[in-house]
């Protein structure tokens, strides 16, 4: 069992124009930097990207937006960048905004063979338009559908050739959920380790969910809001 590929270029083999991708990360935290760069380089276009956010102008998914490679974003919170705003307001970019918890649950459901579930989030709002409403325990809920993707691209801290992954801190976020929901899941990791080095009890994403893995290079790990306190 060896899922290691040489690099991001090899990892994104098979990703084509008009495909649907999931990309892990929250803000710029835990995003697959290497694969995003490779997608930019290969200039794959017409992409539908499922990702909680859309990066900033010059980093993360913003890089794909700059080159107009994205046709549609499915996200919970966007617009930290001007190009996104311009494309959205001009109608070039299709944007589907969905509640963050529903996004997380829909990815998890997609990877779990649960095609749909009821959630209270969004009832009575425009998010509920066209969706089935049903009351449970005296409370209204709406029916949300699972999400899957042609490729899911995630970023982890450590991984092995079986595809087992461990994340660090809040860089975990959507990564394990999207890893479950890709028809093909690509994991880029900061460090490839030998099988057995990761304690089976501490593996966050079991290797079965991952088809390709590689050790990324030159991680910038940019901080979006650097907040500090002063030593007193």
């Amino acid at each position: 069992m060896n899922k290691i590929v040489a690099n991001a270029q090899a990892a994104i083999e098979g990703i084509e124009d008009e495909m649907t991708l999931m990309l892990g990360g929250f803000g710029l935290c835990g995003i697959p930097e290497n694969c995003i760069a490779a997608l930019v380089e290969k200039n794959i276009t017409g992409l539908t990207c499922i990702s909680n956010n859309a990066g900033v102008d010059d980093f993360g998914l913003g890089l794909l937006l700059q080159k107009r490679q994205i046709k549609k974003m499915i996200s919970s919170y966007v617009g930290e960048n001007d190009e996104f705003e311009r494309q959205m307001l001009s109608g070039e970019l299709d944007v589907d905004l969905i509640p963050q918890g529903s996004l997380a649950a829909r990815c998890q459901a997609g990877g779990s063979g649960i095609p749909a579930f009821f959630t209270p989030a969004g009832y009575g709002t425009e998010v509920a338009h066209g969706k089935e409403v049903r009351w449970f325990n005296g409370k209204p809920h709406i029916l949300e559908m699972a999400l899957t993707a042609d490729f899911a691209i995630v970023k982890a801290w450590k991984g092995d050739r079986f595809g087992n992954l461990m994340y660090k801190g809040t860089a975990r976020n959507f990564n394990p959920l999207m890893a479950m929901a890709g028809k093909i899941t690509i994991a880029e990791v900061e460090e490839l380790v030998e099988p057995g080095e990761l304690d089976p009890n501490h593996i966050h994403t079991p290797g079965i969910f991952v088809q390709r893995i590689f050790q990324g290079v030159d991680y910038e790990k940019r901080i979006e809001q650097r907040t500090v306190r002063t030593r007193s």
Binding site: G79, S102, Q108, T170
Partner: protein, 217 residues
């Protein structure tokens, strides 16, 4: 009249020992600075951490440790980290004791609008819709009126809703109010603010019963 810190300080008095609390961006974030003595609460951030601590000291920022506002944070002893699905399981499953968030408008039936202004760039609801649809105990922290002096406490929201009949309490620069079946029930006045001031600044139904005490902050 309270400033933003005053609002945060007043809401902090609602905290109870052992509570799990989710604080939204803006005024709510300030509440963490005013936790009453002898009380221990844990802060959850919906991107996936429980036991969020203060900002790191300069030079100790970790790109892999941020809150839902994308700010660098620290983790307290006893913190735990989890994926976003588990995080919203905590929220949707009503394991969070208190949610505090800002709002553009609150209606006197508990409806809230805080995510979208038609015609303006829409950034998205983030976790707000999950939070308001699920939380049993939601306090809105906001200024009583908007920049044009218009009341943000309305008979009915005019902006697209974030959630319906969900807000339990509102704390503004002018007042503390519970939301009841008959509207905003005035509980406390901010220092130096009269009942009449509050009535003038409130478009929704305001219930004033008996003597309204000035709040202690």
């Amino acid at each position: 009249m309270l400033d933003k810190n005053g609002i945060a300080k007043r809401i902090a008095k609602e905290l109870q020992d052992g509570w799990y609390v989710n604080l939204g961006i803006g005024i709510p974030t300030l509440i963490a600075n005013y936790i009453p003595q002898g009380i221990s609460v844990e802060f959850q951030s919906e991107n996936g951490i429980l036991g969020m601590g203060p900002f790191p000291f300069e030079g100790e920022e970790d790109a892999d440790l941020i809150n839902a506002g994308k700010q660098t944070i620290t983790a307290m002893k006893g913190a735990s980290i989890f994926d976003s699905a588990t995080s919203f399981a905590m929220i949707r499953g009503q394991h969070i004791n208190l949610t505090v968030l800002g709002a553009m408008e609150v209606a006197d039936n508990g409806d809230i609008a805080n995510w979208k202004i038609p015609g303006r760039m829409v950034k998205g609801m983030g976790g707000a819709m999950d939070l308001v649809a699920s939380a049993e105990n939601i306090i809105v922290a906001m200024m009583h009126t908007n920049k044009r002096g218009q009341s943000k406490l309305l008979r009915q929201c005019t902006l697209p809703l974030t959630g319906t009949r969900c807000v339990k309490k509102v704390v503004t620069n002018l007042a503390v109010m519970d939301i009841t079946p008959n509207g905003f029930k005035l509980l406390e006045r901010a220092p130096g603010v009269s009942v009449e001031d509050i009535q003038n600044a409130t478009e929704g139904r305001l219930i004033v019963e008996g003597d309204i005490p000035e709040m202690e902050v």
